[in-house]
Amino acid sequence: MSKIDPEVVADELVEHGQVTTPDASRQVGASRLRKEDARLVTGQAAWTDNLVFPGMLHMAVLRSPMAHARIASIDVSQALRVSGVMAAFSGADLAADLGSLPCAWPVTEDMVSPEHPPLATEEVRYVGDGVAVVVARDRYSAADALEAIAVEYEPLPAVVDMEAALTDSDLVHADKGTNTCFVWPLSNGDVDAAFSSAEVVVERRFIQQRLLPTAIEPRAVVVAPIAAADEYTVYSSTQIPHILKLMLALTTGLPEHKLRVVAPDVGGGFGSKLNVYAEEVIALIVAKRLGRPIKWTESRSEGYQATIHGRDQIQDIALAADRNGRLRGLKVDLKADMGAYLQLVTPGIPLLGAFMYPGIYKMDAYDFRCTGVFTTKTPTDAYRGAGRPEATFAIERIMDELAVELGMEPLELRRRNWIRHEEFPYDTIAGLTYDSGNYEAATDKALELFGYDELRAEQVRRRESGDCMQLGIGISTFTEMCGLAPSRVLGSLSYAAGGWEAATVRVLPTGKIEVVTGTSPHGQGHVTAWSQIAADALSVAFEDVEVLHGDTHVAPMGMDTYGSRSLVVGGVAVQMAAGKVIDKAKRVAAHLLEAAEGDIEFRDGAFSVRGSPEASKTLGEVALAVFAAHDMPDDMEPDLTGSTVFDPENFSFPHGTHLCAVEVDTETGMVDIRSYVCVDDVGKVVNPMIVEGQVHGGLAQGIAQALYEEAIYDSEGNLVTGTLVDYLVPGAPDVPTFVTDRTETPATSNALGVKGVGEAGTIASTPAVVNAVVDALRHLGVNDIRMPCSPERVWRAIHCGDDQTSAAAVPAADHETLRQTDSAGGAQ
């Protein structure tokens, strides 16, 4: 009989949920409470706006009230007379130093890439475009002084509607001669043959409304200069301290090695802080000019104009299939609103979706085309999901429409077409290789948790009885590509940087561990999760690990946090770096124990000679010996540091099945989510509690797009939803209690077997909710409702057969029209 290995038994028990993970071993997989929380729940966090430096001045930005105008004149002289004001600058005053804000993703060789001055000098191109700044001793004086700046504008035509913009009748950038930024195609297979031989073709137009990311911490930047040395520390509420440092150097010409960027505690980002913003550059240049620390913090309403927006796409999609449900081909013609300028990755966002329109399905041919369009609106850029929510919405919505056309259960249609678990790795029609997945398992689990059959039966009963509360069921079986990204793939997509991530692990002389990561967390719990990974890899206590991040002096290399990349690239790098530490320590231990390195084993935090465990050296003892360096092996430096730069070989492909049941009040149009079940597969999980939290938050944002949020511009280019009063971010009563669960199909492309999770909930949930709303009303002749599915839109869809109540740009007086229509409806 073979000997029982207690460790293997323990692992099995843990895997089967029969024991909780013991404290000192196997941190990965345990719901460790977060190390981050202590400072956050006691009010001791270091938000950027908290920072105060001697002599610090406050900066305020005067912004254009017009969507498009020529600046005829600008006079800041009166602002200087306001009490407390130290300086005031127009765009022209600073232009020589400010440079042009960078776009790092020229998606095509002929992409139109206009100059993007941080402060406009000749023309303003969206409401909120900065034209001047004042600097004062306190923030109130700075705000007062803005009113003393005189600007004369000569109005130019606003360009609000994307399709009108494509006619080039009015130009956003007159010198470019076109509002078309780029046209980017992707094609695989004979799509014409697939469509002409298919038995059924379904075509739809879906509108991805513009969204305001709304991280609860407004953006802020503080620049602390050492004027005499021409050195600058930039504190910014950013997701990307490393990229920001490089871009500030390239934009301003200041030497890169004289810049230090710190992301202190950052209060959420969701992509909106994945950028290089005008105010960061302006504050840096003003600090240089004045030799004083400069602080700028946006107000929420200011941020709604000056911080990037998300989505804003028109999707024309056609799906071809045979009568038996087999998918043949998919065509997507996408128009993506860039806004007035290209921010850091603006043009690349819709392209991240390009690869995801086929979703989890097999088909013969795929044809995609994206046209980037300039309008006189705030630039768009990454917002949670960034291209993939839009793609997932379109494919999951049109799968339901195809199912109706075929008279087939929507789940059955999906089953007939999805990649089966034994077919992985699978090369998709969009050119990706999905490494692993099990759509059957996730779906089966979700159906059981949801009570699918019972709900369908109830739906039939309600329809038959003509209940005013109709029940709808929505399905979203999704996957997404994240974990950005293999550098060579980014290169092939013309992205300017790589997708690697750096980690350094060092053992201090007392045996405590410092992990340095290039990721830059802002709510994701990296300090906790990376501690778990390092603790396991080094066999030390979770509490003995500290994680350092977000300061280019402390963590000099990094690609930062976005695109659900941190764990699958940065977390894996931590494990690899820790492995290098163990390799080095093994050599030292062998030397100290006077044994051959090959005979040394590392177990339970100690190195010993195989077969004689009584003589051993702990990792701490080895660390102390290396620190003293009295007795090192020949040709070995006294250093236990392990450093890795990990470049992943593939993207990460989390997937899952989301099911939503809604009750729709056909008399009021009110939608109530009755139950929401999701089973996500994010591979191996480091901290289930954190993963569940990421899913919850993602769901709320995806549901918000489906039901609540929309950034609305009027025909003059004014942001009508310019404050939190007008833009409906859901509160606690507006979102349901979620039922979440997981299946676990390990990723094969990284050593931890992990997949990204940060955006999954947002990507999956929007179509699940809208499919449910449409499903509830299908028998009343409703086959689409534009997002957000507000009571008004739902009511009109039911009673007016009108699912197009609001174009991307509404007329300035549209609310009047709506009110009249509503009262007419009420009299029926």
Binding site: L40, T214, F270, H696, G697, G698
Partner: protein, 166 residues
């Protein structure tokens, strides 16, 4: 300029303030109490919530001049002798925060909620916190944290009552 005498987190202050100075800026910039955050300019987000004379207020909606004679408690005055308030503990143990920016306001609003209703249902918690926005958590773990704190506080009260009875 108005002169105010105000107690904040147990410390008495006597200050002259500009008439238009918001309480939240008085706390953050005059007193250096940066635990209270600003998340909007329209009193929607609740990040700046503090207790004023036993009731929660959004400190961006109160003028510093209005708090003369008042007793203010911020997130920084909530723990006593280094012991976290049950709500602080529960937000930690139930993962009721991610980025943590809304958390001080969320916790202070919850203090008021539980003072008014020591045993709220989930729905009552959601309605009670509708003036506080969180963008990270989807609220589910916040609701769980408030419920957990309510249970803890009920247990503490029972223990205290038994203590008193003895």
């Amino acid at each position: 300029m108005p002169r105010i005498q105000v107690k904040v987190d147990g410390t008495a202050y006597d200050d002259e303030v500009e008439s238009r100075l918001l309480l939240v800026h008085y706390l953050r910039e005059r007193l250096g109490l940066t635990g209270t955050n600003v998340g909007c300019d329209t009193s929607n987000c609740g990040a700046c919530t503090v207790m004023m004379d036993g009731h929660s207020v959004k400190s961006c909606t109160v003028l510093a001049a209005q708090v003369d004679g008042s007793d203010i408690t911020t997130i920084q005055g909530l723990s006593s002798n280094g012991d976290w308030h049950p709500l602080q503990r529960a937000f930690h143990t139930e993962h009721g925060l991610q980025c943590g920016y809304c958390t001080p306001g969320m916790i202070m609003a919850s203090v008021d909620l539980l003072a008014e209703n020591p045993d709220p249902s989930d729905e009552e918690i959601r309605l009670g916190l509708e003036g506080n926005l969180c963008r990270c958590t989807g609220y589910q773990n916040i609701v769980r944290a408030v419920r957990k704190a309510a249970e803890t506080m009920a247990g503490d009260n029972t223990a205290t009552q038994q203590e008193v009875a003895r």
